[in-house]
């Protein structure tokens, strides 16, 4: 418990900053919607003339931008990458920082097992990630609600937050895996961020080139398509199961490799 509290405390400032960042992102993004909605249906027409490739890169997708929640769906793609960056970094650094700051000789000489250290640290990282998610939910709910004109949106946002949680969890554990299993824990955060950015780029590349659709299993950003979620398709079971499997595998690798390897001192 002491280790968990210590981690919560040491991540407090960064957590607050990330939440403020999310707040501005959602507020500024939805502020733009005010301008869009004023122009009515014509926006969709203008957007439809934009080439598909540009639309893909800008994450416009096939959202109905005249509704607040549709516009939010577009914004969500940016929120997902932001929160994924946060999750990756915290997942990697929370494990690797003891070695980076050379405090592992202090911590591991205490009567603690490697297993309990990883548990406490991952719990703290998870609580941070969850907080970011809940803050995003609260801010999104308020902002979309403010601009909505009698359309239902709460269910849609809740679904999107579940998606975000899945993406966050996967990347948090990708970070912790890189830190626990990698040969050089000090660069774990960079390695994991690289993987995450590659997954994001792959997501966009698949959008641009439909022939590459089979690669969608490789990037968690593709597991849950916001546009489909806001439509009627909902969650696709194969990707829900795939996410659960990935999370379990990454958890296993994190715990086992951290227990078995030499600390880099």
């Amino acid at each position: 418990m002491n280790l968990f509290l210590r981690e919560m405390k040491s991540n407090r400032k960064s957590l607050i900053l990330w939440c403020i960042g999310i707040l501005f992102m959602v507020a500024a993004g939805m502020g733009k919607y005010a301008g869009f909605s004023g122009s009515g249906q014509s926006v969709n027409e203008i957007i439809s003339t934009i080439p598909g490739s540009l639309k893909a890169v800008l994450s416009f997708g096939s959202f109905d931008l005249t509704t607040a929640v549709g516009f939010y769906g577009m914004l969500f793609s940016y929120l997902a990458i932001m929160t994924a960056i946060h999750a990756t970094i915290i997942g990697a650094t929370i494990i690797s920082k003891e070695e980076r700051d050379k405090t592992s000789e202090f911590l591991m000489a205490k009567p603690v097992s490697r297993y309990s250290v990883v548990s406490a640290k991952l719990s703290a990282a998870f609580l941070n990630v969850l907080t970011v998610n809940l803050v995003t939910f609260a801010v999104s709910y308020l902002m979309v609600g403010y601009y909505s004109k009698n359309e239902a949106f709460a269910g849609d946002i809740l679904n999107l937050m579940l998606v975000m949680m899945a993406v966050q969890l996967i990347f948090m554990l990708a970070g912790s895996t890189a830190a626990a299993a990698g040969k050089r824990p000090r660069i774990a955060a960079s390695v994991a961020s690289g993987i995450m950015l590659a997954a994001y780029v792959l997501d966009k590349v698949i959008d641009l080139n439909k022939d590459l659709d089979f690669l969608k299993y490789l990037t968690p950003f593709k597991y849950f398509n916001a546009a489909k979620l806001l439509g009627d398709t909902g969650f696709e079971p194969v990707f829900v199961i795939l996410s659960v499997i990935i999370v379990l595998i990454l958890l296993y690798i994190t715990f086992v490799s951290y227990r078995k390897r030499d600390l880099s001192i």
Binding site: S10, D101, E105, A109, V112, L263, I265
Partner: protein, 294 residues
């Protein structure tokens, strides 16, 4: 009873050598010295004892229990001072000490106050504002605050001024009297000589000597350096126990082992301007003495 039992402990980092077939025991109530030059494998051995790293082969037990299997349990009764102390920068000293104490299921606040007072440590300061020596003091208090039965110290005195070193040694002797067993690693022979009853000498990953300190002291070379008014005849110090004689102008130097009076009598026959008599440091002992045996 043996507090520490190390059997054929071997550790390779990839292909590079850490330690090879290290075996020795530390008995209960003993202050055991572990000496060797930098990079000989002292820290590797200690880190394996604390299961910070895992041995390639061989085993080690503390309090009769395997170091890896019972690691967390064993560590309840171990206090460890690493050779380089690094702590969470943004913490105050007292926060770090309380955090350290929170891992042990007992109230250590009184002992923290006592130790901080003995070591003259200001607990209200932030750790990143401390000098190297003061950080070392934090390490010492941190290692002793839970009154461990086994104290493991890896090069503990570097950075401490002589006065603090003395206080620290007194503290260790006091803990030892209360029943604590101490494993002290060092590359400075004199501090090991002052405290320890037995030593293991490690060189290039292998234990080359396991000896009582009293024995080691007897057959130790001393380093003599003389400055004379007139150049010296090369055969002047051709007596038993003198090796490595060198003469350069008014200066002469040699190593001597044996009855100190014999050589002093010889020196008084000379008109000398200055004299230096030094203990060999460990590196020199390795060079001049152990190389032949090892």
């Amino acid at each position: 009873m043996n507090i520490i039992e190390i059997k054929y402990l071997t550790k390779y980092y990839g292909k590079s050598r850490g330690i090879i077939d290290v075996s020795f025991n530390v008995e209960e109530g003993e202050i055991f010295g572990f000496i060797g030059p930098n990079g000989a494998g002292k820290s590797t051995t200690i880190r394996a004892l604390l299961s910070l790293i895992y041995p390639t082969s061989g085993s080690a037990a503390i309090f009769g229990k395997d170091c890896i299997k019972y690691g967390p349990e064993i560590k309840k009764e171990i206090g460890y001072l690493p050779s380089e102390v690094f702590y969470y920068d943004r913490m105050k000293v007292i926060d770090l000490l309380n955090y350290s104490a929170s891992f042990y299921k007992k109230d250590c606040s009184k002992r923290i106050r006592e130790l901080a007072e003995i070591m003259d440590l200001d607990v209200k300061k932030r750790i990143d504002d401390l000098s190297f020596g003061n950080k070392k003091k934090v390490g010492i208090v941190q290692g002793l605050l839970h009154e461990p039965k086994l104290i493991i110290l890896d090069e503990p005195t570097s950075g401490l001024d002589p006065l603090m070193q003395q206080k620290f040694f007194d503290l260790l002797l006091e803990e030892n009297k209360k029943g604590a067993t101490i494993l002290l690693s060092s590359h400075i022979l004199s501090e090991v000589q002052r405290l320890c009853s037995r030593v293991a000498i490690i060189k290039e990953g292998r234990i080359i000597k396991l000896e009582k300190i009293s024995t080691l002291k007897e057959d130790n070379y001393k380093k003599f350096k003389l400055e004379m008014k007139a150049p010296l005849d090369n055969d002047f110090f051709n007596i038993k126990g003198v090796v490595e004689f060198k003469s350069e102008g008014d200066f002469a130097s040699f190593l001597y082992k044996g009855n100190i009076n014999a050589v002093l009598k010889r020196i008084t026959e000379l008109e000398i301007a200055n004299i230096w008599i030094e203990e060999l440091d460990l590196e020199e002992i390795f060079l001049h003495y152990y190389e032949k045996e090892g």
